[in-house]
């Protein structure tokens, strides 16, 4: 089939250079010409460059992603929609998704992070869900550099200002610092929303003759080509592309949120989608593809902010806070009335058509016309070469036991104190006290309280627990194991609060997939995630792939961030991470092993990223999750805290001091494992371990044993004045809690107080 489109007067000639500038390969260009039966117009080149960018097409990642498990009886919507949806009982469901905004945040941290929050909110409320919680997974370079402090301050301010204004509590996340992320920070935002099952709406264009309506903010020239921007390496040249970054308007977002939910519940519309990356182009093409229908759009009808915008600009603009809606024919007036109530504009800009084409007109002139209805998936698929890098193999196989201890390590309290001030481990209160975590009056456990955030579901006894996790260092050292751990740790964190892990969303942050070592990391990490998702029955319901995360030194650590959602049948079971009662027994579920590889201890104390990451036994993880959940539901658990970065000693210290208002001490004896090296026992990051405090050690022990989980009493909760004492064999060391608390709570504020003098904080409101 041949399609017809007319170049606009003044359009440049379609040259190989112009095609290359749009990130389209010669092969891809040939495919476009074959598809059209003619030379494409500039507008068509723009459309293809956006839709066939990695960000929209998943052209390098799709074959690997297809191996992930996506089904479970509770999954109502898997990958391929704006967000995944799972049922949580009582006719209720939660929609959730995580997405990256790495490159925009690298060039303009405040707006980059803010618009990342805005985009993920829209992905969730376009499913018909009211957002109830936000999370953020952030990765930065070393906090020792002014540039990183500037990025941290800007990103946190941007996330806070946006989420706070819209009124969605930001309740959890994870933040890590490592030089590998220098110059290419990762900013992944996750949103969770609540809906009644029958309110679920999909972004599927249907019904020939139905009008297509642009809703929300007007279209300007901002962010043109953001999707292809996200699919390029970050370089100094890209710094010059600064004007592409969009500006967020959380006030309009709040209005759009209310208007969209009202619109969805009105029954006047059949589909709704955010105009996110690649704006009008991708939203219209994706809705058409899902519905297997044709669409026609007239760019002269789109409400614009600036005069003289070309169809190319209108189609590719990434102006924020806009939606594309397919309404039921004849209900245009009702749709406009709902938008007008919220002081927003709505204009009919096109129509669903029977003819299988994707057509764009500028008034009467056809400026783009593609045959078929599968414009996005017609993109070529790539199967890049995968080969593990020699450097990673060398690091993994290094004998870390041969790294000699520093002289100060003779006192493990010294080491513990240093680790507590490592920014990756230290309290993130400096960050989360800038986020409203209590709006909507449903936050049972907010940031820093528990291993995951707990949000009650109003009108039921239930709650959900949510958490993001990923240790990119593990994934770098062994992608398959690292991918498994990312899922297993997220599941463990959610389980520690008393919630059954149910499903995940993922944000796959990797480097340039055309590099064999990067594609190897990607493929293996995804396989590892798949292993864990199958074992733990937490299917993948969607997510986002962010490739080309590179700086001049190379790719960032491969970071497949996991966003986990779990369900508590009774919110009263919500369990925190801190000790609550003097005299309680302290138990360790799981068993320490001689594992130091990939640890924060090696990285922070010895400046070394090496060794094999800890093993991940998925059967053991599953048993552990079962045991902790049973113990919590039986009412035996006063606190539960997973051992992660910094190992057992850090986990114990956190259970003592994380709650600044009521610290408690602990007397610990680890002599049972005296055969392990002291540093592996205290600071090794062996997986599958939980520190529990309980008034009934026998009951917890019996439950753990029944689940086949090793369990041992390791100590007793003591008054704060007793400090944290650790005994191995005949030697005992005692740390005053003030010293530990000052390291843990003071580290990031001290580092960031330097940032305050370096840069001027941007505007914020109340």
């Amino acid at each position: 089939m041949t399609t017809h489109a007319t170049p606009r007067p003044g359009d440049p000639a379609i040259t190989p250079a112009l095609v290359a500038e749009h990130g389209i390969t010669p092969d891809e260009y040939d495919r476009v010409v074959a598809m059209l039966g003619r030379t494409p117009t500039l507008t068509e080149i723009g459309i293809i460059s956006a839709l066939w960018s990695e960000h929209c097409s998943y052209k390098h990642s799709r074959p690997v992603l297809k191996t992930l498990p996506t089904q479970a009886p509770w999954v109502l919507q898997g990958p391929g929609e704006n967000a995944g949806v799972i049922a949580i009982g009582d006719g209720l469901a939660v929609a959730f998704k995580i997405e990256s905004h790495n490159h925009p945040s690298a060039v303009e941290p405040y707006q980059g992070a803010a618009t990342g929050v805005g985009g993920i909110l829209r992905d969730v409320f376009t499913m018909g869900a009211r957002p109830i919680a936000m999370l953020n997974s952030l990765r930065f370079g070393s906090l020792d550099t002014p540039r990183v402090r500037y990025l941290v301050a800007g990103v946190v301010n941007g996330i806070g200002d946006y989420g706070n204004c819209v009124g969605i509590p930001t309740v959890a996340g994870d933040v890590m610092f490592d030089a590998a992320y220098e110059g290419n920070p990762l900013v992944n935002a996750m949103c969770v929303g609540l809906l009644r099952e029958e309110e679920l709406i999909r972004a599927k264009a249907e019904g020939v003759g139905n009008p297509i309506i642009a809703v929300g903010a007007r279209t300007g020239r901002d962010g043109i080509h953001g999707a292809s921007f996200a699919s390029e390496d970050l370089s100094e040249e890209n710094e010059a592309k600064r004007p592409r970054v969009q500006v967020g308007d959380p006030f309009t977002e709040k209005l759009l949120l209310e208007a969209s939910l009202e619109l969805i519940r009105s029954g006047h519309i059949v589909a709704i989608q955010d105009m996110g990356a690649a704006g009008l182009t991708s939203s219209s093409a994706e809705m058409a593809e899902r519905g297997d229908v044709g669409v026609t759009i007239d760019t002269t009808k789109v409400p614009v902010r600036e005069a003289g915008m070309t169809p190319y600009e209108i189609l590719l603009s990434e102006s924020q806070e806009r939606m594309l809606v397919v309404a039921t024919r004849g209900r245009e007036a009702e749709v406009k009335a709902i938008l007008a109530k919220w002081d927003l504009v709505a204009e009919v800009i096109g129509e669903v058509i029977a003819e299988p084409v994707y057509r764009v007109t500028e008034g009467d002139r056809v400026v783009a016309e593609f045959p078929g209805t599968r414009l996005v998936t017609d993109c070529p698929q790539y199967h890049p070469e995968a080969r593990e890098s020699e450097a990673a193999i060398a690091r993994r196989t290094r004998d870390v036991a041969s790294i000699s201890e520093r002289p100060e390590e003779i006192d493990p309290i010294w080491t513990l104190t240093r680790l507590l001030e490592a920014p990756t481990i230290a309290s993130k209160r400096w960050i989360h006290r800038q986020y409203d975590s209590t709006v909507r009056t449903s936050t049972v456990a907010g940031p820093g309280h528990a291993d995951a955030a707990v949000i009650r579901i109003r009108g039921t006894r239930k709650a959900i627990a949510v958490k993001t996790d990923c240790n990119g260092r593990y994934v770098y050292l062994d992608p398959r194991v690292g991918g498994r751990i990312a899922v297993a740790e997220a599941a463990r964190n959610v389980a520690c609060t008393g919630a059954t892990p149910r499903a995940i969303t993922n944000c796959l942050n990797f480097g340039n997939p055309k590099k064999p070592e990067v594609f190897f990391q990607f493929r293996e990490a995804v396989y590892g995630m798949g292993d864990a998702c199958r074992a733990l029955e937490t299917p993948v319901t969607g997510g986002n792939v962010s490739l080309y995360n590179e700086n001049p030194q190379g790719a960032v650590y491969p970071t497949p961030t996991i966003g986990m959602v779990g369900v508590l049948e009774d919110a009263a079971h919500a369990t925190r991470m801190t000790f609550t009662t003097t005299g309680d027994a302290i138990l360790l579920l799981g068993e320490p092993r001689e594992e130091l590889g990939g640890s924060e201890y090696l990285a922070w104390i010895h400046g070394t990223v090496a060794g094999a990451p800890p093993a991940c036994d998925l059967d053991a993880e599953r048993a552990l999750t079962g045991a902790i959940l049973e113990a919590i539901r039986a009412g035996h658990v006063r606190s539960a805290h997973d051992c992660s970065e910094g190992g057992l000693a850090v986990a114990l210290a956190e259970s003592c001091i994380a709650d600044e208002t009521s610290p408690l001490g602990a007397e610990i004896d680890l002599s049972s494992w005296a055969t392990l090296s002291r540093r592996a026992l205290l600071f090794g990051e062996t997986q599958g371990r939980i520190v529990v405090s309980t008034a009934d050690a026998d009951a917890v022990t019996a439950i753990a044993t029944r689940h086949g989980v090793p369990v041992r009493r390791i100590g007793t909760v003591r008054p704060a004045a007793d400090g944290l004492s650790l005994q191995i064999g005949t030697t005992r060391w005692t740390a005053p809690l003030d010293q530990l608390a000052d390291a843990y709570h003071g580290a990031i504020p001290r580092a960031m107080s330097r940032a305050a003098a370096e840069s001027v904080v941007a505007e914020g409101a109340a």
């Binding site: 305050a756 003098a757 370096e758 001027v760 904080v761």
Partner: protein
């Protein structure tokens, strides 16, 4: 009626604590601008409006400042310039 462009500066009232101004002053000194005595951070508004003449435009903008644009409790304003659009 003629169109005028009116520039308005709104600054924190003198003597009030201005943490933002202080932060800027501190960073400037950190950057080596040793001669900085004081900084105040305010807002600059550019209004494009119709009025019979420049005096009328100024009167209108003063009224706007009094009612909405500036908070009389905490802010001072000054008309920084009026020119035909």
């Amino acid at each position: 009626m003629t169109r005028f462009v009116v520039n308005v500066h709104i600054v924190p009232r003198k003597g009030l604590l201005d943490p933002q101004g202080k932060a800027v002053a501190d960073s400037l000194r950190t950057l080596g601008f040793a001669g900085v005595h004081d900084v105040h951070v305010g807002r600059h508004l550019v209004l494009d409006l119709e009025a019979a003449d420049a005096a009328g435009a100024e009167r209108t903008v003063r009224e706007m400042c009094g009612r909405l644009l500036a908070n009389p409790v905490t802010e001072d304003f000054e008309i920084a310039g009026i020119r035909p659009a």
